[in-house]
């Protein structure tokens, strides 16, 4: 006899009822939390940090020394279990890329919620072992001489990539620069064109 699972949406609704019946679900929690997450945990936070690092040498140094404090300085916090933020600096000869092979950890309050492909099995399995191939498949062909550094988010440290600033944007102000910084670039699977 087969016993097909109820649709995920029905199981999610059942779980919600279970919380509610134990008095664990405050009124409006789901809506308030969702709104909070969508309004506050956005890619623009990290983009603003990157743009400032590109335009403010002292901030760049602080970001690379202690990204948790640098984020806090700009008003961006981390959830309790993200205990330590590290910024990884790309240079003309070094390219960083982040992954979580065992689940899908990201600094979501800084770079925004992880995209689906980041959470999928293929990326998690392959990027540690075939980084150059995977990046090329995703549209980022790096020069042979570029050293690739992969960071597996296996503990409570969260990483963000500080991408290279495109030459064409020299002299832009931080606001204009923040508008071109993408989540993919802060994960390390794309450059900023």
């Amino acid at each position: 006899m087969t016993d097909d699972p109820a649709p995920a949406a029905a199981r999610a609704a059942a779980l919600k009822e279970a919380f509610a019946e134990k008095g664990l679900l405050p009124d409006g929690f789901v809506e308030d939390f969702t709104r909070h997450a969508e309004e506050n945990w956005i890619t623009r936070n990290g983009a603003q940090m990157v743009a400032r690092a590109w335009t403010d040498e002292a901030f760049r140094a602080r970001l690379l020394a202690d990204a948790t404090a640098a984020a806090g300085e700009m008003g961006f916090g981390l959830p309790k279990h993200h205990r330590h933020l590290v910024a990884l600096e790309n240079t003309p000869g070094i390219h960083n890329v982040i992954v979580c092979t065992q689940c899908s950890c990201t600094a979501f309050s800084i770079i925004g919620a992880a995209p689906d492909w980041y959470k999928d099995l293929d990326y998690r399995a392959r990027v540690v072992r075939q980084a150059r191939t995977v990046l090329a498949e995703m549209g980022l062909s790096l020069p042979a001489a570029t050293e690739i550094r992969v960071w597996d988010t296996s503990a409570d440290t969260r990483y963000m990539v500080l991408p290279l600033q495109p030459a064409r944007t020299q002299g832009w102000d931080a606001e204009a620069l923040a508008a071109i910084v993408t989540q993919d670039a802060m994960i390390g699977v794309a450059e900023i064109g």
Binding site: D3, E17, D152
Partner: protein
């Protein structure tokens, strides 16, 4: 545990569905909110949550989208913590509600030791049936410490409701060609490794 979740370096996977694969995601914000609610209510910590995902039946794990894994883990923990029964969940859902497999024992941290930046270290050749954050692909491998973090809860104990101890992790740099000789792209692979998983090289 050497579970299905421990994917790093596994072969046979294909191209990344990049940038996005459309699917029904209307229920996902609800699951994300309930997951957070469980943490805030003190029902489980992050390591218990991660381990509940790892305990999913392998075929279910591989076929479930990300938020279905979250859904399954939170439901499992609510049942294990006595908030609701599995039968009640299934009745409310109007069909089967697959849960994760039962939890086993955790383990205590190793005696304290310390390492310095630049020091070569080896990942211990140890195995556990419980939760661990040591990806299998670094077991027994040698790397170099490139950064040291503040102390974090030791996952192998924290996921099992054991006395919480905290220890630093070390960002250890491995060469992909030493992790997978003759079968990898050249790269430096960094892993955040708990102190208890390491020994002097």
């Amino acid at each position: 545990m050497d579970g299905m979740h421990d994917l790093g370096g596994k072969q046979g996977f294909g191209k990344i569905a990049y940038p996005l694969t459309p699917h029904d995601e209307s229920w996902e914000p609800l699951v994300r909110a309930l997951w957070t609610l469980g943490v805030r209510a003190g029902l489980y910590n992050m390591d218990e949550y991660r381990h509940a995902i790892e305990r999913m039946a392998p075929v279910h794990y591989l076929s479930a989208p990300y938020f279905e894994r979250t859904l399954t883990a939170v439901a499992t923990l609510l049942v294990e913590k006595g908030v609701v029964t599995a039968e009640t969940l299934a009745a409310k859902a109007g069909g089967a509600f697959p849960l994760s497999r039962p939890i086993g024992p955790g383990r205590d941290p190793a005696p304290a030791q310390s390492f310095v930046i630049g020091e070569p270290v080896r990942v211990k050749n140890v195995f556990t049936s419980g939760h661990t954050r040591m990806p299998g692909y670094i077991r027994g491998k040698t790397g170099v410490v490139v950064a040291i973090t503040p102390p974090y809860p030791f996952p192998d104990a924290a996921a099992h409701g054991m006395r919480e101890t905290w220890e630093p992790t070390y960002d250890v740099r491995f060469c992909s060609e030493e992790l997978w000789p003759d079968s990898s792209d050249p790269a430096l692979v960094h892993v955040g490794v708990f102190q208890s998983y390491l020994e002097k090289a």
